[in-house]
């Protein structure tokens, strides 16, 4: 556990804050890896690195947190100068493709956090990248500056959907994905978001025989592959994941259907 100081914060939207910090190990993390963030006295939770020091100008890495409960609330209210504990980075990472290919990145809400370093990487490597971002409403947009900068530089082709139509196309990002995939050819699909959404993306990808890499979530305790709370079929999300390929997911019956609670019992997704 390394204790780091929050060096800066940025509110992505009313419910989501990015916290920046300096940490050597995180600096050399790979896109898609996550850290365990200790909020002293409160909890420790898994969060994907939403930026990686070695790829950012100020050398800071960051996590981006959406408030959903006690720990995320505490973290979201943290200010510059406060201390958090960091373990990791943990897990595997997104595998990029050669620059001749075309990539589709589909993010749902806070799931976009784990895709940001991937998008950085893809554009750096010159891969032609289409990014679909789906949120509920205009006020839920996130990573706006980073995405629009990439988009305006021509690094990515950015398409946004909102469920209420207050920004971009109206509807679900999965519907947009289906359209895009039907009309253009992609070598790979990356996605992170609610599991139901990703399951739909997986289905679409399978139909079109496009390999997918999806970032999944399960209860994380140890993050080092021993406690068994994050298991999904024969895999550990913390060690064998969090990124899984469609090859792997094809035989995992619980994917999109069941997760396990803190007591290990199955509950529907």
């Amino acid at each position: 556990m390394r204790i780091v100081e929050v060096k800066a914060v940025k509110d992505e939207n009313p419910n989501v804050r990015t916290l920046f910090f300096a940490d050597d190990l995180c600096s050399s993390a790979k896109a898609g890896q996550f850290v365990m963030v200790w909020i002293p006295g409160v909890d420790e939770i898994p969060l994907t690195l939403s930026s990686i020091g070695s790829q950012s100008m100020d050398g800071f890495s960051s996590v981006t947190v959406a408030e959903v409960g006690e720990a995320t609330r505490a973290l979201k209210s943290m200010e510059t100068g406060e201390l958090i504990g960091v373990r990791g980075p943990f897990g595997n990472h997104f595998e990029t493709i050669s620059r001749s290919g075309r990539a589709l990145v589909v993010g749902g809400g806070i799931g976009m956090a784990s895709l940001m370093p991937l998008i950085d990487r893809l554009t750096m490597e010159g891969v032609e990248t289409t990014v679909l971002l789906g949120v509920k409403s205009r006020r839920d947009l996130l990573f706006t500056e980073r995405l629009s900068e990439l988009s305006s530089r021509g690094g990515i082709n950015l398409l946004v959907t909102t469920e209420d139509g207050t920004y971009g196309a109206k509807g679900l990002v999965t519907e947009l994905a289906e359209n895009v995939i039907s009309s253009e050819r992609f070598e790979i699909i990356y996605s992170c978001g609610p599991e139901a959404m990703m399951h739909k993306i997986f289905k679409i990808a399978e139909e079109h025989r496009i390999p997918a890499q999806l970032s999944l979530e399960r209860i994380i305790r140890c993050a080092i592959g021993i406690c068994g709370s994050c298991v999904l079929g024969p895999y550990r999300v913390c060690k064998d994941g969090p990124i899984f390929t469609s090859d792997q997911l094809r035989t995992v019956r619980d994917f999109g259907k069941f997760k396990r609670g803190f007591d290990g019992r199955k509950t529907p997704i």
Partner: protein, 308 residues
């Protein structure tokens, strides 16, 4: 990759036949049938499940597991779905190629017995009694530091099931032999030594204990010499098979436990650093050692350090 079978490595603990003397330790990945099967396929000679109780338990909030300089601290708090839900996982392991040992805890001797009975009914090849988890009030080592309670628990469980019963002991005792004796006199078929050592760590920047439960159990390299001593002390006095556990990560560690008196060994924390391959690597290392030293079977070296 399934490890090759070897006559040298074949052994037996309380009637369970093992293809090699390595086992998955309780609480390590043993939460689902899928993970237990994967571990067996990776080369473990037997697998022990996460400890299961009568009722579902959520365990403690995070941080529950934290690396320290020479090992791992955990206070997971025995999260488990309860034996009635877990029986499903046990049943779906029918046909598993290695013995399945279900670890059991309870808040009373009756509970231990009830959980054990359901586990065996569902298909467990043996039960291991968690008399040693150091961080749950009223269960684990709160039972297992008291020879009388140990004795009661073991007796009840023996009455309730017709499969081998292992008693897993705590090192947090002034005399582990006394605990082992109580278990054996009450009918335990084997002893597992040891569970984690009560310990904690405090972060100096925030002046806070890191584990949410403050105190937890230390495992890994740090405790190996403590665990070897426990096995050695138990073997010196008692006449049941001992399963050594605590800080094993290489064949050398495993052989050290076997020479101390262990008939088999369990591996936990090292799965973090070595992955599930650790079972195969340790087993292969033991085999090379036996071959190099001219032994025909791992059984020949059990307790060898006591001679001479």
């Amino acid at each position: 990759m399934q490890p090759r079978r070897s006559r040298r490595l074949t052994t037996e603990v309380a009637g369970l036949k093992l293809q090699n003397p390595t086992m998955l330790a309780s609480g390590i990945l043993g939460t689902t049938s899928d993970m237990l099967r994967r571990t067996a396929q990776s080369g473990a000679g037997a697998v022990v499940t996460k400890s299961v109780g009568l009722e579902p338990r959520e365990g403690y909030p995070n941080p529950t597991v934290i690396e320290v300089e020479c090992g791992l601290l955990n206070a997971v708090g025995l999260p488990n779905p309860g034996i009635h839900s877990f029986a499903e996982e046990i049943r779906s392991l029918e046909g598993l190629e290695v013995p399945l040992i279900v670890s059991v805890y309870g808040f009373s001797p009756e509970e231990y017995a009830e959980v054990a009975a359901v586990a065996v009914q569902a298909g467990a090849d043996a039960v291991e009694l968690n008399l040693s988890c150091p961080h749950v009030k009223g269960a684990g080592s709160d039972v297992g530091r008291n020879p009388k309670l140990i004795s009661e628990v073991v007796k009840r469980v023996k009455d309730a099931v017709d499969k081998p019963v292992f008693a897993k002991l705590t090192p947090n005792a002034s005399d582990i032999v006394e605990l082992g004796e109580a278990a054996v006199e009450a009918g335990a078929d084997a002893l597992t030594a040891i569970n984690t050592v009560r310990a904690m760590t405090i972060d100096v920047e925030t002046a806070r204990p890191i584990l949410a439960n403050k105190i937890g159990g230390l495992s890994g390299r740090a405790i190996k010499p403590i665990a070897v001593r426990c096995v050695y002390e138990l073997y010196r006095v008692l006449d049941v098979p001992i399963i050594g556990c605590g800080g094993i990560s290489s064949w050398r560690d495993a052989v050290e436990f076997i020479l101390a008196g262990a008939s088999a060994v369990q591996i936990g924390t090292a799965v973090a650093s070595k992955g599930l391959d650790v079972f195969r690597l340790v087993a292969e290392g033991i085999e090379s050692y036996l071959e190099r030293k001219g032994y025909g079977s791992v059984k020949e070296i059990v307790g060898l350090s006591h001679r001479g």
